[in-house]
Amino acid sequence: MSKMSRRKFVTAGLAATAGVSGLGVAANLAKRYGLVPPDSGGIYGPGETLTYAAQRLFARHSLAREFPRSMISKVPFANDMPPLNDAFKRLQAGAFADWRLSVEGMVARPASYSLADLRSFPVRSQITEVVCEEGWSYVAEWTGTPLFDVLKASGILPKARYLVYFSTDPDWWESIDMADVQHPQTLLAWGMNDGDLPVAFGGPLRLRVPRQLGYKSVKFVNRLMVTDSLKGFVSALDPKSPNSGYAWYAGI
């Protein structure tokens, strides 16, 4: 081996070692600062991690665009819905007077709220766009209670990392991280365009997460569960899971 090629060999070796240990350090830092999404395993993990880490690093507190009243869609689109169950229909017949939202998991004081209870919290309205992963969208005014106010009232424990929220259909649930839980635009919406939230759009209660795609804004929400881990929930990549193999983070 000549001198030149030995030097090249050593340089390449050092560069490769630096590269690999750099990646290792980056992975550790990303984990420590909560930049790794729960579906970071598998062949699509690197892309998902880059997207999630980039948006959390550079845009953790940014606000979704809000629109002037004149841009509210005249014909919003409600999308398909799974058939509603009997329990829901009974509650609907009673004008949702008996609808309850339970708060459980890693909170100091588990609670249960009626819609009237939720309305007694400070009210917030926002005109934001519902963006479906299929490509279509509409703008509406959403009125409701900021999610974080409701969870704060129950005392979120310091170890909490995610919120899992369930629809009236127990197989329909989604989850978000604490950045979106604490975000001022994440709204437990009970009103839409100056009226009650219609059933077709998720009434009586829908969790609006306007910085993510529509499938994270679950309709008919009746249960909030604070947790430190999504282990034990069906894998996000499992096509039989509620989100049919869709990415956990839907900010893109």
């Binding site: 979704a64 963006v131 969208s137 869709y246």
Partner: protein, 253 residues
């Protein structure tokens, strides 16, 4: 071992190692983006202009294909299966690969003056006359001579620059302008395009342009000698070693 230098083409390679590696990673990323992009398009083959648009608003135009959603009035009596889960995963992973590879390519291209030396048209070629000359040569189907295949003509240079610095950045920008998280952070990126649905429509047209570029690019590779063009982009070594070797021997003697 002693004969090897005679068989090899001496001098710098036709394409540097960095250009060759980034070229093929881009090929793989682009194909993944194309397949997954078409798949995502099938879930809503309607296009709009402005901020919003959905199955209840009039489209700018529609693609006459069946859809993977029953809510889309496609005119077909059946609904294709939903494949958006893996398609969206693949689309964004390939987009990251394309962006990171593109950054390496552009930064190194500026550093090594690759763009100035090989892609910006030489001053004497920045004329309509030069353009006409190249186009006429193409129309006459003249096969490139040795000098032509060692460099890019003015038409190639302008096209490559348009793709590298125009179309690819635009397709990335319009893609990002559909991300609700990105739009929250950088609202002007979508607002200045006229809204989210405008961004989606531009994304579709730029993608279509890139597919056309790919088809012409492949056609030209085939027409000018598939084997030698592929050898150059894989090994970096140009074709016609026979003639070169003789020249080199003559020079040396």
């Amino acid at each position: 071992m002693a004969h090897a230098p005679l068989l090899r083409n001496e001098g710098p390679p036709r394409h540097t190692l960095l250009v060759r590696v980034t070229h093929w990673i881009t090929v793989l990323s682009f194909l993944a983006l194309l397949v997954s992009g078409v798949e995502i398009l099938i879930s809503h083959p309607r296009f709009y202009w402005g901020e919003v648009g959905n199955s209840r608003t009039p489209p700018l135009f529609t693609i006459p294909i069946p859809s993977s959603r029953a809510t889309v009035p496609s005119g077909y009596g059946y609904v294709l299966p939903d494949q958006n889960g893996w398609s969206r995963y693949l689309h964004f992973e390939a987009a990251w690969a394309l962006v990171l590879t593109g950054l390496v390519y552009v930064i190194s291209g500026l550093w090594t003056r690759h763009f100035r030396k090989n892609l910006f048209p030489a001053p004497q070629h920045r004329t309509w006359h030069a353009f006409h000359g190249v186009i006429a040569k193409h129309l006459r189907l003249t096969s490139p001579n040795e000098a032509d295949s060692r460099t890019y003509n003015v038409l190639q240079r302008v096209t490559y620059l348009l793709v590298i610095f125009g179309m690819v950045p635009l397709v990335i920008w319009t893609g990002l302008a559909m991300s609700p998280g990105f739009n929250a952070a950088v609202p002007w990126a979508v607002n200045c395009l006229g809204g989210r649905q405008s961004a989606r429509t531009i994304h579709f047209f730029v993608s279509t342009f890139l597919v056309l570029f790919l088809l012409v690019h492949i056609a030209m590779v085939v027409l000018t000698g598939f084997a030698s063009r592929m050898r150059e982009m894989i090994t970096g070594v140009s074709a016609a070693p026979q003639q070169r070797t003789i020249e080199h021997i003559e020079e040396r003697t």
